[in-house]
């Protein structure tokens, strides 16, 4: 891991509570360095989406509040900022899990919405199309008619037009074929290199995520239970077993897995 001097995002002891009663995440802390790809993996309901929404200011619409902890970007606390200010002032841009594009607008309009008018804006949109040629072919069709993969491309393209420094991507692989996931990750790496971005990826698809991340954390029940380099995580017995599907000698059937008492070795 790089030194602390180029720390971009710093999340400390974050706690988020839905509807005043249900705690979705608790004591979540991690740092993201500039130019890094950071992945959070974890099962359904682990609190990954909640973490991303807290960072991007998306929470309050869902009756959720940050009850503890702090989110800092470049040493500036952003807990209290509104979503529109977060995008404009901090360069944190979210590609959400659902409803990630404007379905009643065309592809072209979706890309035009975040930009200002003028020749420069046209050029930046054109530049985005070079990463996603298939979007260019469909630029006149409504985003609501796009396939899942194209929609994901459009969402990433739209996010790129908000001049992000830190791109938050919630479940890039959701509902996509393995080939498409691979292609998207490849494009993402290219974009990252060209724009000098940092990326926070949230993924169920642990294998893919760990293969492109430089640092990763495992989340369960609203807590980060394990963190480290992908190599370290991939070597971890429980990560292998629960997230990568690589099991030991005795092959378990699904029924057994469900009943298997999940002694978390890292909890001691």
């Amino acid at each position: 891991m790089k030194s602390d001097s180029n720390k971009l995002l710093e999340v400390t002891k974050l706690e988020v509570v839905y509807n005043h009663v249900s705690t979705a995440i608790q004591g979540v802390s991690f740092n993201i360095c500039e130019g890094q790809i950071f992945a959070i993996i974890g099962g359904n309901g682990a609190g990954k989406t909640t973490t991303l929404r807290a960072i991007s200011g998306f929470l309050n619409s869902d009756n959720a509040v940050i009850t503890d902890g702090e989110i800092k970007i470049r040493d500036r606390s952003i807990n209290m900022l509104k979503p529109q200010d977060i995008t404009r002032q901090t360069g944190i841009v979210l590609v959400p899990e659902r409803n990630k594009v404007f379905e009643t607008l065309t592809v072209q309009e979706n890309l035009a919405v975040p930009t200002s008018i003028g020749k420069r804006a046209k050029e930046t949109i054109q530049n985005i199309y070079t990463y996603f040629p298939s979007l260019y072919e469909r630029r006149k069709s409504l985003a609501g008619l796009l396939s899942g993969g194209e929609r994901q491309m459009l969402a990433i393209g739209q996010a790129m037009l908000c001049s992000p420094e830190l791109l938050l991507i919630d479940e890039l692989s959701l509902g996509l074929s393995p080939v498409m996931v691979e292609a998207l990750f490849e494009i993402l790496l290219k974009i990252k290199a060209d724009f000098g971005l940092s990326i926070l990826l949230v993924e169920q698809n642990a294998m893919e995520a760990l293969s492109i991340a430089e640092y990763a954390a495992v989340m369960e029940n609203g807590m980060i239970v394990l963190a480290g380099t992908p190599e370290k995580l991939m070597a971890h017995e429980d990560v292998k077993e629960f997230y990568l599907g690589i099991r030991g000698k005795e092959k378990k059937r699904y029924k057994d897995v469900k009943q298997y008492s999940r002694t978390r070795r890292w909890w001691g």
Binding site: F102, E109, V113, P114, Q158
Partner: protein, 285 residues
């Protein structure tokens, strides 16, 4: 004659409904002050028409006034309620309506007035249709309005951002759109549409305190067409205007006022989201 009167009435109904729809689309708020805005704008147009002999100039002044009024009401009263129940904002619009009604009574004493429209000739169209210059101007203005709105939504940056905000305000905010500014502009345009409708009512019929009864058609047209569909106001307005005029002419004139509501009940029974509305809008209403 009947056809001409149906078309003219439909045009005005459509315009009345459109102001309601534009505001609902952008902010999900049912503006129950709409009928009173129409009345107030109508009276203002009457006074201005006396002061300024030029119809176009007085119309422009009314539109500007309505636009600013809409933006102000949104900025001062509605916007601070963002994040709270939409219901409180809706009830607030009812209060605004009552207030504006009082202003109308106080300033104009609720007299019946006609907006003078200098130019009066008749045009004969093929098929034995005669249109007065007023009717002709009315249809021209309505058509122009819809064309402008279509171009606005489709091609201008603010129009695109308005559609984006209407569909997904959260994502819109995240993409750097000033959603409150956009909603404010939508309120301005919605009020201006009300002002335009008032002007047309004033030159075709008359402005009075009872104009509210006609302006209620705005709600009906919006509901039948689909609360979030500007295009839906056109067929809705035609259906209502035609049935109303036909009932008045061939059946009982006293039934006329009830017709819009009867049609509304029938349409909503089969298509609760309106003719061209979005289906999922339903759970939000």
């Amino acid at each position: 004659m009947l056809l001409a009167s149906i078309v003219v009435l439909a045009g005005i109904y459509a315009l009345l409904g459109s102001g309601f729809v534009i505001i609902y689309k952008a902010s999900r708020i049912l503006n129950f002050a709409h009928a009173e805005i129409v009345m107030l704008a109508g009276y203002l147009a009457v006074s201005l028409a006396v002061a300024i002999p030029f119809s176009a100039a007085s119309l422009l002044a009314v539109l500007c006034f309505c636009f600013v009024l809409g933006m102000s009401i949104y900025a001062i009263l509605i916007r601070p309620l963002a994040g709270y129940s939409v219901l409180s904002a809706i009830i607030l619009t009812v209060a605004v309506g009552v207030l504006l009604n009082a202003v109308g009574v106080f300033v104009w004493r609720g007299e019946m007035e006609v907006i003078p429209f200098g130019w009066r000739t008749y045009f004969s169209l093929p098929g034995n249709i005669r249109l007065s210059s007023i009717e002709f101007a009315t249809l021209g203005i309505v058509t122009l309005f819809y064309a402008c709105m279509g171009l606005f939504y489709r091609f201008t940056k603010i129009g695109q951002q308005m559609r984006a905000t209407a569909e997904n305000p959260l994502l819109a905010a995240q993409r750097g759109i000033s959603i409150y500014r956009i909603s404010g502009i939508a309120w301005g345009i919605g009020f201006a549409a009300a002002g335009l409708a008032a002007f047309l009512l004033g030159i075709n019929y008359a402005i009075s305190l009872q104009i509210g009864n006609i302006a209620v058609a705005a709600f009906v047209v919006a509901l039948i067409g689909g609360l979030d569909s500007l295009l839906g106001t056109i067929p809705a307005a035609f259906i209502i205007a035609a049935t109303e005029q036909l009932t008045i002419t061939y059946a009982n004139p006293r039934l006329g006022d009830a017709i819009p509501f009867i049609i509304m009940l029938m349409v909503l029974m089969f298509k609760p989201w309106g003719l061209l509305g979005t289906k999922e809008e339903l759970d939000r209403v």
